[in-house]
C-alpha cells in the first residue's frame, strides 16, 4: 500500500536517511523503531511531503507521491500525528476534529455533517466528554488522542503515528494501545507507528523495521527483531530494555 525505495535525505552533510527501503502492506500495524536521531521523524516528513528526499520514490497505492504537497498527500489518504503535538490550541477539541473532516477529504461534507462526524470520531477516541475544552488545556495523553482523532477525521487509509505512547502513564499507555488496535481492527486503517516504548511496539506491531543513523538495519517480526544482533548493538548504551 505504501512503499518507499532508495530514499535518502541529507541535512547539510548529515545523512538523516540513507537508501531506505520500506513497504507497508494493507491492514498491518508496522512498527518503526530506532535510537534517537535515527531518522524516524524525518522519514515521516519525507512521506508527508514536508521534505523532498534527495533520492528515491515513494508510492502510495501504486502512485508516486513525491513532489505532492502535504495537503494533497493528506487528501490522498495518509494521516499523520506529530511527535511534539501540534493541536490547534485555541480551538475546542470538537472544532479541531471538525477541521480535519472539512479539509482533509476530497469531497468534504457540509459543516453540520462534519460536526456530527467529528463527534463520532471523538467518541471513538474517548474524547467526547471533553469536546468543548480548548485543546491547549488538555492533558498530554488527551492531546495525543486528539492528534489521532484529527488525523482520523481526514479519512486516512494509512496512519503515521509518531510516538503517541511516549510520555503517558501506564494506564494511559494501555488505553492508547487498545485504541490503536481498534483503529486497525474496526476502521481497517493501516498503521505505521514510531515508538520508543518497546513494550508497546512489540505488543502492537505485526512487523517492525529498525532505523539506525538513517539506515535500515533490520526488519521482521517483533520476536526476530529482539534477537537481532545489529539491533541490540544499535541500542547498546541506550536506556531501552527489551
Amino acid at each position: 500500500m505504501l512503499e518507499g525505495r532508495n530514499i535518502s535525505k541529507y541535512f547539510g552533510g548529515l545523512a538523516a536517511l540513507k537508501n531506505v527501503y520500506f513497504k507497508v502492506t494493507k491492514g498491518v500495524i508496522k512498527g518503526l523503531i530506532g535510537p534517537n536521531g535515527a531518522g524516524k521523524t524525518t522519514l515521516f516528513n519525507v512521506i508527508m511531503g514536508v521534505y523532498k528526499p534527495d533520492s528515491g520514490v515513494i508510492k502510495f497505492k501504486g502512485e508516486n507521491i513525491i513532489g505532492l504537497k502535504t495537503n494533497q498527500i493528506c487528501k490522498r489518504g495518509i494521516g499523520r500525528t506529530f511527535q511534539i503535538v501540534k493541536p490547534f490550541k485555541d480551538l475546542s477539541v470538537w472544532d479541531n476534529v471538525t477541521m480535519g473532516v472539512l479539509f482533509g477529504r476530497r469531497n468534504p461534507p457540509g459543516v453540520k455533517e462534519a460536526r456530527d462526524e467529528a463527534l463520532m470520531i471523538l467518541d471513538f477516541m474517548g474524547l467526547k466528554g471533553k469536546r468543548e475544552v480548548l485543546a491547549k488545556n488538555l492533558t498530554l495523553a488527551d492531546k495525543k488522542s486528539l492528534e489521532i482523532a484529527r488525523a482520523l477525521a481526514t479519512k486516512p487509509e494509512i496512519l503515521l503515528l509518531d510516538e503517541v505512547v511516549a510520555g503517558l502513564n501506564p494506564t494511559e499507555t494501555i488505553n492508547m494501545i487498545k485504541r490503536i488496535k481498534r483503529i486497525r481492527d474496526e476502521l481497517g486503517i493501516t498503521i505505521l507507528i514510531v515508538e520508543h516504548v518497546m513494550r508497546a511496539v512489540m505488543e502492537i506491531s505485526d512487523e517492525i523495521m529498525v532505523l539506525h543513523h538513517g539506515e535500515k538495519i533490520a526488519e521482521g517480526e517483533p520476536c526476530e527483531i529482539t534477537r537481532d544482533e545489529r539491533v541490540i548493538e544499535a541500542y547498546l548504551g541506550e536506556k531501552y530494555i527489551f
Binding site: 541535512f11 521523524t41 506529530f82 511527535q83 511534539i84
Partner: protein, 290 residues
C-alpha cells in the same frame, strides 16, 4: 576608470561592512539566546549615535572616546527593556514580542525626535575626513578607524562568548534552552545579560555609525533591516559568518550604488533585503523542530 571606482567601492564596502557586522552582532546575540528579534535594535543603535553626537557637540568629545559611554547608556536602556517589558511576555506567542519591540522602536524613534529634532546629525571630525591613498584607492581615515574598532569589538565579544563561563552559558542557551536549564544555568539571568550585551553592542556601533553617516530619527527601521539581513545571511552565533555577512552587504550596496543611477539608490538596499529573504529559506535560522 570604472575599474578603479569599482575597486574603491569594494574597499569602501568592506570597511562599512565592519560596522554593519558589529550592529548585527547585537541583534544576533539577543535573537540566538532569547529567540527574540529585537525590532528596536536600529533605534538602539541610533540612540548610541545621538549620545555620541551630544557628547561631541556639548563636551567636544571624540566619538571614539564616547563609545564606552554610548554603550553604557544604551545598555541601561536595554536593561529596562528586558526587565520591564520583554521578560513579561516570555510565554506569549513569538509574534507578541515582535510587536512589542516594534512598539518600543517607534517609541524610541519618536523620543529621539523630541530631543534632537528631525535634523540630520553627524559627528564631523576633520581628522576622520582626511583620505589616505593606497595605490589607486582612496579611503578616509574615519572608515579605516571605525572598521578596525568594529573588528576589535567583535573579536572582544567573541572572546567573551567563547572563553568565559558567561559566554559558555550564553552559547548553551542558544543551543538548547531546556538542556541548559537542566545543567543548572540560570536562564533568566543570562537572558538579561545577553539583552544588555546586545544593547551595548548596539550603542557602541551607534557611536561609530554617527561618525560615518548622518543620522535622523527615522533611520532606525532601516538599520534594523540591515542587521536582520546580515543575521539571516550568516546565521546566529557565528563570528566569521557575521563579519562575512556584514562585508557582503556593505560591498553589494556599495557596488550597486556605483553602478545604478542615483535616483534609485535608495531602492537598492530594500531590493537586496527582499531578494535575500526570498532566496534564503527562512528555515536556515530557525532551530529545527521535530
Amino acid at each position: 576608470m570604472l575599474w578603479e571606482s569599482l575597486l574603491s567601492s569594494i574597499v569602501y564596502g568592506i570597511l562599512v561592512g565592519g560596522v554593519y557586522a558589529l550592529i548585527s552582532m547585537g541583534l544576533a546575540l539577543i535573537w540566538g539566546v532569547m529567540d527574540v528579534i529585537n525590532l528596536s535594535h536600529g533605534e538602539l543603535v541610533l540612540l548610541g549615535g545621538y549620545v555620541a553626537y551630544w557628547l561631541f557637540v556639548l563636551e567636544d568629545l571624540n566619538p571614539l572616546l564616547s563609545l564606552p559611554l554610548a554603550a553604557l547608556v544604551v545598555g541601561s536602556i536595554g536593561l529596562i527593556m528586558e526587565k520591564f517589558f520583554v521578560s513579561k511576555i516570555k510565554e506569549a506567542p513569538a509574534l507578541n514580542t515582535f510587536l512589542l519591540t516594534y512598539g518600543i522602536g517607534i517609541f524610541i524613534a519618536n523620543a529621539i525626535l523630541q530631543i534632537w529634532t528631525a535634523d540630520y546629525r553627524r559627528v564631523n571630525v576633520s581628522f576622520f575626513l582626511e583620505t589616505v591613498s593606497l595605490g589607486p584607492i582612496r579611503v578616509s581615515r574615519g572608515d579605516v578607524l571605525t572598521f578596525s574598532l568594529s573588528f576589535g569589538l567583535i573579536m572582544f565579544t567573541h572572546i567573551i562568548l567563547t572563553k568565559t563561563y558567561l559566554g559558555k552559558a550564553i552559547r548553551a542557551l542558544t543551543e538548547d534552552r531546556i538542556a541548559a536549564q537542566l545543567m543548572g544555568i540560570n536562564d533568566k539571568q543570562v537572558d538579561i545579560i545577553a539583552f544588555v550585551m546586545g544593547s551595548m553592542l548596539a550603542g557602541a556601533a551607534g557611536s561609530l555609525f554617527v561618525s560615518l553617516y548622518y543620522v535622523y530619527p527615522a533611520l532606525g527601521g532601516w538599520i534594523t533591516a540591515k542587521a536582520f539581513i546580515i543575521v539571516v545571511l550568516s546565521g546566529v552565533g557565528s563570528m566569521s559568518g557575521t563579519i562575512l555577512g556584514g562585508v557582503m552587504l556593505g560591498v553589494a550596496e556599495s557596488i550597486a550604488t556605483t553602478l545604478i543611477s542615483a535616483s534609485y539608490r535608495e531602492l537598492i538596499g530594500f531590493v537586496i533585503f527582499i531578494i535575500t529573504l526570498l532566496i534564503k529559506p527562512s528555515g536556515l535560522l530557525g532551530r529545527s523542530s521535530h
